[in-house]
């Protein structure tokens, strides 16, 4: 290895930078590739607002009405008849979509490590995939973690992937963080769209607040609750001390099996609450399990964003 020498010389700074860069480079393409691959599975329908407006695509000819500028007349069409026609284009205003992917420690849980992805992995994959889809559709996409306004174009995809890669690295190195995450509603651009990917296991009030703020700002979007099957089934028994991923919360029980029904009740109540919140604020809500394919969730997300338009 001829180039090992210089690197070794600047060991102090160089190694950290380089290893980080390499790690990033190593993580990025697969994530992006996965996301691209996932996005490929969604067939893009006609992308338009289904009404006339600013845009490149032809929408309709309509007779010239009072108030139309003369330069708006389409002479080629008008020459075929005695009337004057105005050529209208389809309105193709680009939409801003903010993605919030929960990076709290609770998302690092997997019921079967090695066999099933963690919730965070799945959430990142879905985020990037929807970002790919949206960018392909010409929308502006932003990531809450980036603290930047939404932008469009492939470069923005790289940035998003980069940011998600950072989160992935944090997970791999098991860096400490908050136990449960909460979205923020006040940083969203006005009248934009938002996608929240989280397990929503933390305080429900935070989510409630965020949604209320978002609704105030005219933001609509989708809530996707990403859960591990174990969280859905609670297959535990015996004397157990349950701890949160960060260790901040703990609960001891002598017979975990007895708690199952009540836990499931609470989980169902939480889902109901989220559903209700979403309904009142005009959002969409769904649950995704990490043992099911990501395509379904991606389709739902895409549909939910489409639906809101």
């Amino acid at each position: 290895m001829s180039d090992a020498g210089p690197v070794a010389l600047h060991a102090g700074v160089g190694r950290g930078l380089r290893s980080k860069a390499e790690g990033l480079a190593a993580a990025l393409p697969p994530l992006l590739a996965d996301a691209e691959h996932l996005a490929q599975t969604v067939l893009l329908g006609a992308h338009g607002r289904r009404r006339s407006g600013m845009g490149d695509e032809f929408w309709q000819y309509r007779p010239l009405a009072v108030g139309d500028e003369a330069r708006s007349i389409d002479w080629r069409r008008s020459a075929k008849s005695d009337q004057h026609f105005v050529r209208e284009k389809e309105w193709q205003a680009a939409q801003s979509v903010m993605l919030w992917c929960d990076e709290a420690m609770s998302m690092r849980f997997s019921g079967a490590p090695g066999k099933r992805p963690t919730k965070a992995e799945r959430a990142r994959l879905l985020s990037l995939a929807i970002a790919v889809l949206l960018v392909r559709g010409g929308e502006r996409v932003g990531l809450a973690r980036l603290d930047q306004p939404p932008r469009s174009g492939p470069l923005q995809l790289i940035r998003i992937a980069d940011a998600l890669g950072g989160a992935m690295e944090a997970e791999e190195q098991n860096l400490p963080g908050p136990d449960y995450g909460a979205p923020r509603g006040d940083t969203l651009p006005l009248h934009s769209r938002a996608v929240f990917l989280s397990d929503f296991m933390g305080e429900i009030d935070a989510a409630e607040n965020a949604l209320a703020r978002a609704a105030d700002r005219g933001v609509r979007g989708a809530l996707l609750m990403v859960l591990d099957p174990q969280e859905e089934e609670f297959p535990f028994d015996g004397r157990t001390i349950f701890e949160s991923m960060g260790g901040s919360l703990a609960h001891e029980t002598r017979k975990a099996g007895d708690l199952r029904a009540r836990y499931l009740d609470r989980l169902a109540a939480r889902k109901d609450r989220l559903e209700q919140l979403a309904r009142t604020t005009g959002w969409q809500f769904s649950t995704h399990h990490t043992d099911t394919p990501a395509q379904g969730a991606l389709l739902w997300l895409y549909g939910a964003l489409e639906h809101g338009r």
């Binding site: 609770s106 998302m107 849980f109 019921g111 079967a112 066999k115 099933r116 919730k119 449960y180 397990d199 296991m201 933390g202 591990d228 099957p229 174990q230 969280e231 859905e232 089934e233 609670f234 297959p235 535990f236 028994d237 015996g238 004397r239 157990t240 001390i241 349950f242 701890e243 949160s244 991923m245 919360l249 703990a250 609960h251 001891e252 029980t253 002598r254 017979k255 975990a256 099996g257 007895d258 708690l259 009540r262 836990y263 609470r266 989980l267 939480r270 043992d291």
Partner: protein
């Protein structure tokens, strides 16, 4: 040793630890199983939930019980539990261990030895000197071999039960002669032997006596008797207890000479009966094979009884000269013989050849004069091997030429012509009475009834040997019965008839006795003592104490008087007179342990003598078992604890489990579905080939691996098939390419094998197939396609390859096709066998070396078989080959001559296939002139 029931403890103090168990119970009950820590994000939802059941922190009672049991097992295990702990027998001073040592000890001999070992061990523990004495093998009077107990260990192995019971006199004398005082342990066999009281009294004088006795007493078997066509056996037992059954087995050699159980019967004792009788009805053949009876599962010489001649019934064949006198039974030559022999012998009737096959003990000829030479030879051979031929005279014998000039080998003497009659109406003199039998005669000692007279007889020629051959004579000295030894057998002639025509002898009891003496009929079972006097009997086989039959080896012979006394039960058997089989001059006598009058008496010990059981309970250390049980209980506890704590099965989502198990099921189903399919497909392929090859005649060629060569071979055979189809009644189907390795060859009458120098050598299996094919009438045409330029041999690569290929094949010697070979005329008359090349050297199986040209015959007489191989290099396939449109594939030669050569090549092909399919039919035509000639007459 502390003991509870049959279980003792080596360290009983440890059992106090069991007291701790209740404490442990309380302790364990209070300590719940340790919790398991789980990371679980859903804990946020669990906060504030209370457990429903506060009782579950206590260990469940069954788990507690399990743990208690485990701990208790550990404590008990270390306390050293022992099953059946041995009790030491205390005592001081010298010790005599006496055992009866007779056959009755044999049934539980190992148990007795174990008991003695136990007693010795106890004695060793207390340092007592010990003597072990068997009452059947006593030391010299006055001697008592006192040794250290440990020294007896190796000597015990030398002790064996004897076949005879202890001898009363000797035992008493020895017991009284022994000096000193000692304690006695007496291992009794449970039977009351004579003199037991005296021995007991003598031993009691020296010290206390303890008797060990098994509650099971031995069974005995009396000698077999033959009565009313049944073999009767009596089983004896000493004590009258409950009902009991015993199985009697009859042992003997089967026709192959192996000893096996020939018959078995159940004897059932009534309650309160000491005897049980059982009867066996056996065919004579089987009965004669029996050598001994045994009681099943009752070892000991007393449970075995040997059989001797008493049980054997001789097979006697009766043959009369004239059988044609219907209705006159009293005049039948065999009537009196039948009456005399029926009760004591098995009669065989039939023709002489059949009878000789049955190999009877004796054959009786009543007035049979002459026999065909072949039968005579067979009969003589039978006599020489020990047969007994008994002939009676009669009118036929008197009238015949038998043994007139020269002595017939089957007659003891020469006869005078005509015979004589005395005391009749036309003759002088009185009917003759018998003279008393001389001492050398087998009839010696038989009383002569007065009324036995002879009126007619055949006369013996005076000869030098006559005197010694006469064994009975008339009052005037003329021989009445003569006997001649022939090797191991003998020929006896009664000079009178077997019926009452010539004498009144057959009417008398003397007749029966004479037959008995001649060993024609069977003697009464047990001989009289007087009979045995003065004779010496050699033991052939003897019984050992366990009832096994041993070869007598070099045991000395015994005096007949002693034997007679023992048989009559008057003298005891002993080391000098062992029970066994004794051989005398002409008979075998069995001396059994129990005589026909024997009974088994149980012993009654006086009340003052303590009687103990024989049983030795073996110590079994239970420590290992108990500790293992504790370990198992602890292992169960681990499982149960894990289960209780929810750690036995890792929590897993149901969906995943279901998914993987369904995947597994799908995988297994796929395997199951796939495997038989493959096999079936292969079989179908084989069937297809078989069908294709057998529904019509098919020519076949061997796949060589060279695609072009195979194609030419295929085309060549197609061309030949077409030619055959057009010109002959053979209508072959499309030729088949045969792979030697995979295809069955048996379907093809003919294989064309073009030799390819690059061809791989077939495998051993393929060669096995090829050889089988050649042996069963297949033919292979080897074609080196080299025009034989190198001659038949290694000149070309193909030739070398052919040698290599053919080396493992079963190929007979070869020769170039001779002019008169059948291939030259099976369909066309040919002298050349060209293919694409025209070389004359074609080789076939060589004619047999003895084939000769017969004058006036065009062909040699060579009609055997089809040559298995034809070898040549003319590239026939190329000459035969046709394209699909029927045009020839390759040019042959030039112009018209070339076409002519191709035609001859086709003709060779036709001849070849004809030869294969019709064999040597054309060769048989050689015989047609001769056949026609014969038919004309």
């Amino acid at each position: 040793m502390f003991a509870i029931g049959p279980i003792g403890f080596t360290a009983p103090l440890l059992l106090w630890a069991l007291v701790v168990l209740p404490l442990l119970w309380l302790l364990l009950r209070a300590v719940p199983p340790a919790p398991i820590r789980r990371r679980f994000p859903g804990v946020a939802l669990l906060l504030g939930l209370e457990d429903e059941d506060s009782q579950t922190d206590r260990t469940p009672w069954w788990l507690l019980l399990l743990r208690m049991l485990a701990v208790a097992a550990i404590i008990i295990g270390f306390a050293g539990p022992v099953l059946n702990p041995e009790e030491r027998r205390e005592g001081t001073g010298p010790l005599l261990i006496a055992l009866d040592g007779g056959w009755a000890d044999a049934r539980d001999w190992p148990g007795r030895m174990a008991r003695i070992e136990g007693l010795l061990a106890d004695a060793a523990a207390t340092d007592r000197p010990v003597a072990v004495v068997s009452l059947t093998a006593l030391p010299a009077p006055g001697e008592l071999p006192m040794l250290a107990a440990a020294a007896w260990g190796p000597r015990l192995a030398g002790l064996e039960p004897t076949a005879w019971p202890p001898e009363s006199g000797a035992a008493v004398a020895w017991a009284e002669s022994v000096e000193g005082s000692f304690e006695t342990y007496w291992l009794s066999d449970g039977l009351d032997h004579e003199g037991r009281e005296e021995v007991l009294a003598a031993l009691e004088e020296k010290g206390p006596v303890t008797v060990f006795e098994s509650p099971r007493r031995p069974l005995g078997l009396r000698p077999a008797r033959f009565e009313d066509g049944q073999v009767r056996l009596t089983v004896l037992r000493p004590d009258e207890t409950a009902a009991q059954t015993a199985t009697v087995l009859a042992y003997g050699r089967d026709p192959s000479g192996t000893e096996r159980v020939l018959a078995r019967a159940e004897a059932a004792f009534e309650p309160q009966a000491t005897e049980a009788e059982v009867a066996l009805v056996l065919p004579a053949e089987l009965r004669n094979r029996i050598t001994r009876f045994e009681l099943q599962a009752a070892r000991g010489a007393g449970a075995v009884t040997l059989t001797d001649d008493g049980l054997r019934r001789r097979e006697v064949a009766l043959i009369a000269g004239r059988e044609d006198r219907e209705g006159l039974e009293l005049l039948s030559p065999l009537h009196y013989l039948e009456r005399a022999l029926q009760p004591t012998a098995d009669l065989v009737e039939g023709t002489l050849p059949d009878i000789l096959l049955a190999n009877p003990d004796a054959i009786v000829f009543a007035d049979v004069a002459d026999l065909p030479q072949a039968e005579k030879d067979d009969l003589l051979a039978w006599v020489e091997e020990g047969g007994m031929l008994l002939r009676f005279a009669g009118p036929q014998l008197a009238a015949s030429d038998v043994s007139r000039r020269d002595e017939d080998p089957l007659m003891p003497v020469r006869l005078r012509e005509g015979g004589r009659s005395v005391g009749g109406a036309m003759s002088w003199g009185e009917p003759k009475a018998l003279r008393p039998f001389p001492e050398a005669s087998p009839f010696y000692g038989l009383a002569l009834p007065d009324d036995v007279t002879v009126t007619a007889q055949v006369m013996a020629q005076p000869d030098p040997e006559l005197a010694e051959r006469v064994i009975a004579s008339l009052a005037d000295g003329t021989p009445l019965v003569t006997r001649k030894r022939v090797e191991q057998g003998s020929v006896v002639l009664f000079h009178v008839t077997a019926n009452a025509e010539w004498s009144s002898l057959p009417l008398s009891g003397l007749f029966v006795q004479m037959l008995e003496r001649l060993a024609i009929s069977t003697r009464p079972a047990s001989p009289e003592a007087s009979e045995l006097e003065g004779t010496v009997w050699t033991p052939e086989r003897v019984l050992d104490g366990f009832g096994g039959v041993q070869d007598a080896g070099t045991l000395p012979g015994v005096d007949g008087a002693d034997l007679g006394a023992a048989l009559a039960g008057e003298a005891p058997i002993g080391p000098e007179l062992r029970p066994g089989l004794y051989a005398g001059e002409d008979r075998l006598i069995a001396l059994n342990v129990l005589g026909s009058e024997a009974v088994l008496e149980p012993v009654n010990w006086p009340a003052r003598v303590p009687v103990e059981g024989l049983a030795v309970s073996r110590e079994t250390a239970l420590k290992g078992f108990v500790l293992t049980a504790a370990l198992v209980a602890l292992a169960l506890d681990i499982l149960a604890s894990l289960w209780l704590g929810g750690r036995l099965i890792a929590p897993r989502a149901k969906g995943v489990a279901r998914g993987s198990s369904t995947a597994g099921a799908v995988l297994i189903a796929a395997f199951l579905a796939a495997a038989p399919d493959g096999a079936k497909a292969q079989e179908e392929d084989l069937d297809l080939l078989a069908l294709e090859a057998t529904t019509e005649v098919v020519l076949a060629h061997v796949v060589t691996g060279d695609a072009r060569l195979d194609e030419v071979a295929q085309a060549g055979l197609r061309g030949l098939s077409d030619t055959l189809f057009r010109r002959t009644s053979i209508e072959p189907a499309e030729p088949i390419a045969v792979n030697l390795e995979t295809d069955e060859l048996a379907f093809f009458p003919f294989l064309y094998w073009p030799v390819n120098p690059n061809q791989p050598i077939p495998s051993d299996e393929a060669y096995a197939k090829l050889n089988r094919y050649l042996r069963t009438g297949g033919m292979i045409l080897f074609d080196t396609r080299d025009a034989d330029i190198g001659g038949f041999g290694a000149g070309t690569p193909e030739g070398r390859k052919l040698q290599e290929l053919a080396r493992p094949l079963d190929i007979p010697p070869l020769e170039p096709i001779p002019m008169d070979h059948v291939l030259t005329r099976t369909f066309y008359l040919l002298q050349d066998f060209p293919g694409r090349w025209a070389s004359r050297d074609v080789w076939v199986e060589a004619a047999p070396p003895d084939a000769e040209v017969v004058e006036g015959m065009p062909f040699r007489n060579l009609n055997d078989g089809v040559t298995p191989v034809v070898i040549g290099g003319n590239d026939w396939a190329a000459a035969w080959a046709v394209e699909n449109n029927g045009a020839a594939m390759f040019p042959v030669g030039r112009g018209y001559a070339g076409e002519q050569q191709r035609e001859i090549a086709y003709r060779f092909g036709v001849n070849l296939i004809m030869h294969v399919l019709t064999g040597n039919y054309k060769s048989d035509q050689v015989h047609v002139p001769a056949l026609l000639d014969r038919l004309g007459q």
